[in-house]
Amino acid sequence: MATASETTLVTTHNESGTKWWTRFLDPSERTLGVLLLMPAALLLTLIIVYPVCRLIWTSFQNLSLTSGVPATFAGLENYSLMLEDPVFWETTWNTVLITLITVPGALLVGLALALMANLPFNVKWPVRLSLLIPWALPLSFAGLIFAWFFHSEYGVVNDVLRRIGIEGVIWFNSANWAFAAICLTIIWKTSSFMALIILAGLQTIPRSLYEAADVDGAGRLRQFFEITLPLLKPAIVVALIFRTITALQTFDIPFTMTRGGPGTSTATLAMYIHQNTVDFLDLGYGSALAVVMFALSMGVTAVYLRMIRAKG
């Protein structure tokens, strides 16, 4: 660097008490912005952008690591194979069904929990913890704990049923009961997060609205449907979208509870992707399956964006 420009830098910057080299540590807004956002951008490129491109590319390839044969272009072969694969249809259907059951289920249970938790309790921490613990519990732990709950011989569920005079079932021997046990577990695990979000929404509703409704003679139920629910809607919509997208990725709970059994009756699409990728090392087919899940999630996100835009 030329001495002349150094001198000018020193003189101009000495006025504000800084040295010339701070110019490099104190760049313009724009350069600074680029620098600060760079690590995030690099990480997202490595972990999301490049993998997405790679995923789509691999789904058109014959790529199995067990054969040792280099990848060859397969066109739509993986996809046509998929359409004729009954396990693909079964796991996709299971995933969609789990989503359709557990998302509204978690919403209803979460709404009930939030309304209950919003009562004026003298001591608040037990209630707060009761909503936080299920959220913080790993999904895989919840799966194991509930597998033990639903144990046919020594499980607490059948024990309680027996006490109230109902003969329990062998939950994990029947496709339907195993599926029901999985859905109940997912609803229990996810409803408390829903409740926390809804509770936060409830606490922002101004009291004056209810007072005005009281003056107008509106009953409690009517207030709930005409004040509480509409004002909770934004919070609920966002929570629902997140929940739907995570429900489409369901893996941990069925994996730890049933390993997809009996047969493949409780296996999900994520489990089938995992099996093809990690167990069979069939990366081409695993990718094609993942593209389907990706499309499902994008569909949900598109609905989400449309809703936000409709809100204005």
């Binding site: 995030a40 919003n118 913080a136 922002t204 992707i273």
Partner: protein
Amino acid sequence: MSHSTTANRSLFSGKPLRILIGFILVVNGMFPALWILFTSLKTEAELTVKPITWLPHAPTIANYLRAFTDQPLLLFLFNSFMVAILSTALTLFISVLAAYALARLQLRGRDLILSAIIAVSTFPLVTLLVPLFEIMRALGLLNTWVALILPYTVLSLPVCTLILVSFFEGIPRDLENSAMIDGCTRIGALFKVVVPLSAPGVFTAGILAFVNAWDEFLLALSFNSNPSLRTLPVGITLYQGEFAFPWPVISAALVVGIVPVAVLIVIFQERVVSGLTSGGIKG
């Protein structure tokens, strides 16, 4: 304060009913963890008594000893802890920088970047199992902590960034400016003034990142098959044999795995709730 605004508007308000409702809430939230604790204290013999007992009759810690000797539970804990701590540190570092840029600088693409961050938060990471597996394999990162740390960082980056943006926006610019007049660079001011003043926010974001990493199962199961690198959620599934499920031992291992996060949650409950409900749902 804000709690009572709608509280007495509820459909139920009698005191006995309130106690009953509180009881229902606590049972719903705590019972599974309590039941596992009871199971972990029972002897094998007590477990196979019918009808089953609820409270352990002769509490024993034998299952805990077996939990640590049947599988390297301490190693699983160590792996989980290191992966969670390192990914939390990386997440915080990257999101502090990004959040500062979004909160303070006049960037033209600011709204676009914020939307991109929200889009990433809804991204189904599971679908990237194959390419991430390939990338980690190509980089020789399978069976290393890094294979998990990088995706976990992406998992928590959006929510942490959003939390930090809202905290940074609350810090008066004057404080930063006076630090800069005192000879601090802008980056220096960020780490010496803005971050310390946003400590509650940084902390909240950190807890969320830690819990996210501590809980993750699928990637840990897929990328780290080497027994010595297994994290806790993956390791715990190993206690079950082909046909045998040593439930008291599994329960003991689960209790050991729940305790660290439970302690974190108990101490920082209010912070966690505020983080979940502010950063998590910004739409």
